[in-house]
């Protein structure tokens, strides 16, 4: 009998602060190489899609390969996509600054991940429902939700539709297909499946999209969602946004020994795609494929969006404590805005000048919205929701004990 002293593996990122960023282990697949199977292909034949990476935009900005084949996608639509990303980036920049001025208590950016939510939204139809995390505000922006209202939520002022009850960036809009964000990681993944089941039980044609971060796939709700989506073949798209980091822990910790997060789908017979999340067109193509499957009653699709969280986790976080501070600049999949810009220029549908002008327009739009929002109030000044409202919406009708407490509170 051999007796080996056992030990554990403690996975760690390739580099830590102080060292030079190193993505040499990260293989960037050639754009256009992945096949584009039919939406009713069997999960078995789709297996490779969970380990490769669907990429449409090549290094020169050309859209290549079978996933580039979106004949209805006009230049206007491509420009609109760029504008959505610019808008989200400008919005982030302003809110980050505002947080430094303590106008909201907190803020979370999307820097580097704009393509994921902005592109995905374009594959949805009115009435579909996202169950987003705090890092998918692009879903709102791309659906035309007013930026001023978003700001009011961030400030928790009297213009906030959720009445100052939630942490900044925890938006909610039924009309725009954006389910109220919870704050407890993962919980909404299974709710998205349940929502989709509801739609199917009602014989409706609306589908749901679930969102989760790489780190949060470790939560139990992820499993429940996979089980239920698989068992009932629910019309839902299950998105994993792998932005490489979960606060201070790198994606390898939650992924463990698996080759990719997308691979999680295989244990459930759920087709799984891995996509370049910094490639607007690739995300859009994949989103269309998955939403089509759902709409055609072919069931769930799992999508791993590979991207990079270029900024801190939130305004409470300083990433230089756990990764090289210039790591974001070396991220091999580049910047989603620059890549779509390059594509549009390559198509002759855009120019450096128009880009500068668009940036200025967008920034002006955001600044104007900010002035309007701040005219209502910020966290510490101006009009905020009345404290009396704190007792509302706990129940549809206020029960006696809450009425009593409201009175005690002086309202």
């Amino acid at each position: 009998m051999t007796h080996t002293a056992l030990s554990l593996r403690f996975a760690a990122p390739d580099v830590r602060p102080g060292a030079a960023p190193d993505f040499s282990q990260f293989q960037v697949p050639v754009a256009g190489e992945m096949p584009r199977p039919a939406i009713d292909a069997t999960p078995e034949t789709l297996r490779d899609l969970a380990f490769g990476m669907i990429r449409v935009l090549d290094d020169t900005g050309q859209a290549v390969g079978p996933w580039a084949d979106m004949p209805d996608l006009t230049d206007d639509m491509r420009r609109e996509g760029l504008r959505h990303m610019l808008k989200l980036r400008a919005y982030d920049a302003r809110m980050l600054l505002a947080q430094r001025q303590q106008k909201p208590s907190f803020y979370m950016q999307h820097l580097g991940e704009e393509a994921v939510s902005c592109a995905f939204q374009r594959a949805l139809r009115p009435g579909d429902m996202n169950f987003p995390t705090y890092r998918q505000a692009g879903l709102l922006i791309a659906s035309g939700y007013p930026v001023k209202t978003m700001m009011c939520q961030v400030y928790g002022n009297d213009g906030d539709p959720v009445r100052g009850r939630q942490l900044p960036v925890f938006y909610s809009s039924k009309e725009h297909g954006f389910f109220s964000i919870s704050g407890n990681l993962g919980t909404q993944y299974i709710q998205a499946v349940g929502w989709a089941m509801g739609s199917a039980i009602a014989g409706d044609d609306k589908i749901a999209a679930a969102w989760i971060g790489d780190g949060s796939t470790a939560e139990s709700d992820f499993h429940a969602a996979m089980v239920f989506a698989s068992t009932y073949r629910a019309p839902v798209v299950l998105n994993i946004v792998n932005n490489q980091w979960a606060i201070s822990t790198f994606q390898g910790l939650a992924r463990g020994g698996a080759g990719s997060f997308a691979a999680r789908g295989h244990g459930f017979g759920i087709p799984a795609l891995r996509v370049d999340g910094n490639d607007y067109l690739a995300v859009l193509a994949v989103a269309r494929w998955a939403t089509e499957r759902a709409r055609a009653n072919l069931g769930p699709t799992l999508i791993e969006h590979v991207t990079y969280r270029a900024a801190g986790h939130s305004t409470s976080d300083d990433p230089s404590a756990y990764r090289p501070s210039d790591e974001d600049a070396c991220w091999p999949l580049g910047d989603p805005v620059l890549r779509l810009k390059q594509h549009l220029i390559a198509r002759g549908a855009w120019s450096a000048e128009r880009h500068i002008q668009a940036e200025a327009e967008v920034m002006a739009e955001i600044a104007a919205a900010q002035r309007k929002a701040e005219a209502i109030g910020t966290l510490h000044s101006g009009r905020r929701p009345s404290p009396a409202e704190m007792f509302d919406d706990v129940y549809a009708e206020m029960p006696p004990h809450l009425r009593r407490q409201r009175q005690q509170a002086g309202f």
Partner: protein, 335 residues
Amino acid sequence: MTMIEAIRDALDVALAQDPEVTVFGQDVGFFGGVFRCTAGLQKKHGETRCFDTPISELGIVGAAIGMASYGLKPVVEIQFADYMYPAYDQIVSEAARLRFRSAGEFTCPMVIRMPTGGGIFGAQTHSQSPEALFTHVAGLKTVVPSNPHDAKGLLLAAIADPDPVIFLEPKRIYNGPFDGHHNRPVTAWRSHPLGEVPEGPYTLPLGQAVIRREGAALTVLAYGTMVHVALAAVQEGGIDAEVIDLRTLLPLDLETITTSVRKTRRCVVLHEATLTSGFGAELAALVQAECFWHLEAPVERVTGWDTPYPHTNEWDYFPGPARVAAACHRVLEVK
């Protein structure tokens, strides 16, 4: 009608009258539930309305929340209350707070049914009474029926309610009223007036207690199985107690309670759950605050001990009629 039949009847009525109602849980569909509360419903209403789920309480409740927010009215079963913990996060962090955090934009009208309580030699994993874990959570309502008549009316009210309702079913009285005398022959609901259950739809409002026995000497607050234990204890002990069946723990019918205690001036609180931080603590705290000037004795609690529910010695754990009567006498003796 037994309580099981009454619950099944309520579900049947709800499924028939409201196309938005769905019923699901472990073994709930084809088989009709391990306690048979959903027997025949799948066959009658179809499997999109009543179906089996994988063994994931988290999944059941999480999916129900999504479904409720879509616009349906899920009525889900947790096979035993002891197994609700994997779903507790979804209940507390999600179902209970969705209306509040979205300022009413998204809501969660759903019912979570679960058998509770001991007395069936089910030991620690088939005997728990976790009501206090729900009453502490803003946004939930908690209901505990004590008989078939109420079970149907309260369940239909819970289904009609626009908010999440926790519906606790004392399993020991599923098939007959149980007064805690475990050595005596079992009685059937057939011979109990509250075993008579009206046909068709009716609701009993959530938040209304009922006085099961009028009395002048002290007030006994109870719910579920303990209502029957209380009635037996005061009957046998010749105690002139007013026995109140709370029916809904939250919202609580404080008025019925305080009116009674101000009259009787003494109060005993009963439950099967462990003592510390049980719902009895809330009741005692409220009664002493609201009836301070009327009370002639401290409010006493008779509850399960602060241990897990044992198997062999379950009748030493269960707060039976002897313990209840003794407490009543103690409280009455206070001069």
